[in-house]
């Protein structure tokens, strides 16, 4: 989560600074040549420590994970796990045919999408509402951020308590004559999850939308006002184009974060999870740490990694976020 937001902040800053500057593609000969010069003498060796760290904490575990997904690794072979029997793609076959993996993928993706679809307008509305200075704006802005700074565990615990049968929410609804039924189990639990997720994650969209709004030049507002644009037209044709970048970034990070979110469903519903909220991370966790099928769960995790990587890759190609400084340039 913290890594997400950190990266997000950085990328946004990068993006906004690009938006503010004249486009680097502009045929500016001197700029090009200077860049070429600096490229030649770049001290690439300084990347070595970071590179080594990346290998140790990302590449090695990733390779180990892929290796594990080919092993019949369980509590009986855990102790000498490297010599566990190699069974090729059997784990993948089992994950896809004999486990609830596909159902879990469907639940994870659909819930993430639904939560995103609601949080984006909420975030924009929040950002637009606090864009112009008014008395107490700083306070409102801080209040907006509360769900975002609370640890996921706390959020889930509080909501779980409120959603207990016969607890606060039930008695509130009861007083207006609604018998809502079960929140933490059964079909409704899926919507409970989405509701809590929206509550917890909309400030993230709000933050990015706010950063997008800040980058709208004052002149643009003035120009559109002179042209007689009313608020909706101004919003639609002047402000929204500025928000496109930050918001697609928010969408991407939010989706990844929701799909990977373990704490929220785990604390809300516990394990074994009701089948309506047996999400991907929960399924992987139970397979690993309750049933001890490490090989199988590694295969599940690998499948989900691919699943996440495909849209991520397409998106990065499309918006070229991966090399924002030199659009189109390959080095």
């Amino acid at each position: 989560m913290s890594t997400d937001s950190l990266t997000a902040g950085k990328s946004t800053r990068r993006k906004t600074s690009r938006a503010a500057k004249p486009g680097p593609q502009s045929p500016d000969g001197t700029l090009r040549r200077r860049k070429g010069l600096s490229e030649r003498n770049r001290p690439l060796w300084m990347l070595i420590p970071g590179g080594l760290l990346m290998i140790v904490i990302i590449v090695v575990p990733l390779l180990l994970g892929i290796f594990m997904s080919g092993l019949d690794l369980d509590q009986y072979s855990l102790r000498q796990w490297v010599s566990a029997p190699f069974i090729g793609v059997q784990n993948f076959v089992e994950a896809l045919t004999a486990s609830p993996l596909l159902h879990a993928i469907w639940l994870s993706v659909s819930y993430s999408l639904l939560a995103m679809v609601v949080t984006i307008p909420l975030g924009i509305a929040g950002a637009v509402a606090t864009q112009n200075a008014f008395k107490g704006r700083a306070l409102i802005r801080s209040i907006f951020l509360i769900p975002y700074v609370l640890p996921s565990f706390v959020v889930a615990t509080v909501w779980r308590t409120m959603f207990q049968p016969g607890s606060v929410i039930d008695s509130m609804l009861h007083s207006v004559g609604i018998d809502a039924g079960l929140w933490l189990n059964g079909p409704q639990s899926y919507w409970t999850l989405i509701l809590v997720q929206i509550w917890a994650s909309w400030p993230f969209v709000y933050l990015l939308a706010l950063s997008g709004l800040q980058s709208v030049d004052h002149e643009v507002h003035e120009a559109s006002a002179l042209d007689g644009a009313l608020w909706w037209n101004k919003l639609r044709y002047v402000v929204f184009p500025y928000l496109k970048g930050p918001l697609s970034l928010a969408f991407l990070i939010g989706m990844l974060h929701h799909i990977n979110n373990f704490t929220l469903p785990f604390v809300l519903f516990g394990v074994p999870a009701p089948s309506d909220v047996e999400l991907l991370p929960i399924l992987t966790y139970v397979t690993s740490f309750q049933s001890f099928r490490f090989g199988l769960s590694a295969a599940m995790a690998f499948i989900s990694l691919i699943l996440i990587a495909i849209p991520l890759f397409i998106y990065l190609r499309a918006v070229k976020l991966d090399d924002a400084e030199t659009p189109g340039g390959k080095k």
């Binding site: 890594t3 180990l64 994970g65 009986y76 796990w81 207990q164 049968p165 990694l305 990587a309």
Partner: protein
């Protein structure tokens, strides 16, 4: 961003493979013969469950035991605690893979078979047993889940925590019941007499959302009807006795209406609270560790413990080994890690904590019954008598590495039935389907265990 997703991926998959926590013992070779162990300058590392109920007392106990251990052996102890069963699992898996970590672990009894299956813990030889004070020091029943057979035992019994029920003497008397039920049918009938929804009083208090209780009911009623659940390499969850057990357990809520409808969201502690407020006739599936809580509550002096029924629903007497299945064999075992380089020191520590005096002291502070036979006999609190009797009538859950999965499958049937329970009836075909699912999952796990 890429970093974040891969890192999370790695964290999910590879907690087990990446040994992040390396702690514990200094390196020195073990001696080999019984007798006083010289542990000067050494440090024993012990992992045990955190006791949230009595956390201050637990810290004090750690200090006291460490001092006594130092006086005996000259070695220090560092205690580490885990907060939950999941926490413990992760620690064990990490240590098993990396071959380093605590020297001594405390394990719940039902988890012992799974731990045994990893072969990462010492199977005690006759010599080793002598080092912990001899096998005959322990209550024989408590050894029932130490290993697959008497020759292969890894778990050394530390405390017994048999499951019993508590009853409110006043409520029973008011309903004209002179003694607590000994069959599940009788229990339901008695509970019905005490139930009065108008005053919020219910015959039974139990939590359907608890992570452990539900499968214990199903296990008990099935075993008492003559179905041991695991028969060699065959799992028998598709047996009519199991279905009957679920129907009875669900029936308390849907048909008999003798439990609070809110209990579909309760865990065991909510049930204890309900009983403590005097609103329940029976508190099901509790242990002697509820004693200090109840003694400070509204029912202080008005309640007593007794063994749970041993006659299965619809039966007139216990079948098979049913009379000895008043509770699962429950409590804590301690195990010594196979990788430990100071096993003698570990055995000396276990010798200390399973001695009669220490066991009685532990009982006084925490309420758990001694596993030490002499200490168990020396208990003089009359309230604990029925609990101690139940300790002798406890039956071990099947000793297989697959038990964890079977337990999960049994629990899952209840979890998936909760929406039906809240609507007031569990559909027969739905229950059948859930049982079939549990059977196939559990059987698959059992097949892996016997491979």
């Amino acid at each position: 961003m890429k970093f974040a997703s891969s890192a999370k991926f790695a964290a999910v998959v590879l907690t087990a493979a990446l040994a992040l926590t390396a702690c514990g013992g200094g390196s020195s070779s073990s001696g080999g013969s019984p007798g006083p162990v010289d542990g000067k300058g050494k440090k024993l590392s012990v992992l045990t469950g955190v006791n949230n109920q009595y956390s201050a007392q637990q810290k004090q106990w750690f200090t006291d035991i460490a001092a006594k251990f130092k006086a005996q052996t000259g070695a220090d102890i560092s205690f580490e605690t885990f907060a939950s069963a999941n926490d413990e699992l992760t620690r064990i898996q990490t240590s098993v893979v990396s071959g380093q970590g605590p020297d001594v672990y405390s394990l719940g009894t039902t988890f012992t078979p799974t731990a045994y299956a990893t072969k990462a813990f010492v199977t005690l030889s006759d010599d080793d047993w002598k080092k912990v004070g001899g096998k005959d020091r322990f209550n024989p029943a408590a050894l029932g889940i130490s290993g697959p057979d008497a020759q292969h035992q890894a778990g050394i019994p530390f405390v017994s925590r048999p499951f019993v029920m508590a009853y409110n003497k006043d409520l029973l008397k008011a309903a004209g019941i002179d003694k607590p039920a000994t069959s599940w049918d009788e229990l339901a009938a008695q509970a019905k007499k005490m139930t009065d929804p108008a005053t919020g009083t219910f015959g039974l208090a139990t939590g359907y959302k608890d992570n452990f209780d539900p499968w214990k009911f199903i296990w008990a009623m099935s075993v008492q009807a003559g179905n041991p659940l695991v028969d060699g390499k065959t799992l028998k969850l598709d047996d009519p006795t199991v279905k009957k057990a679920y129907e009875t357990y669900f029936g308390w809520l849907t048909k008999d209406k003798i439990v609070d409808p809110a209990s579909i969201g309760w865990s065991n502690s909510n049930a204890v609270a309900a009983f403590a407020s005097g609103k329940a006739g029976y508190l099901m599936m509790t242990t002697s560790s509820s004693l200090p809580t109840l003694d400070k509550s509204a029912v202080a002096g008005k309640y007593a413990y007794t063994a749970m029924p041993t006659t299965a629903p619809g039966q007139t007497s216990p079948q098979g080994d049913g009379a000895n299945a008043a509770s699962i064999l429950s409590g804590d075992n301690v195990v010594v890690a196979d990788y430990s380089k100071q096993k003698d020191l570990a055995f000396a520590y276990i010798n200390l904590i399973t001695s009669k005096d220490e066991q009685l002291n532990f009982q006084k502070i925490f309420g758990d019954l001694p596993a030490n036979a002499e200490a168990l006999k020396a208990l003089d609190n009359p309230a604990l008598k029925p609990v101690a009797d139940t300790a002798a009538k406890s039956k071990a859950t099947p000793f297989t590495g697959a038990w964890g999965d079977i337990q999960l499958a049994l629990l899952n049937v209840v979890v998936q039935s909760i929406p039906d329970l809240s609507k007031g009836s569990v559909d027969d075909s739905a229950l059948q389907a859930r049982l079939k699912d549990a059977q196939s999952k559990g059987q698959a796990s059992l097949d892996r265990a016997s491979k």
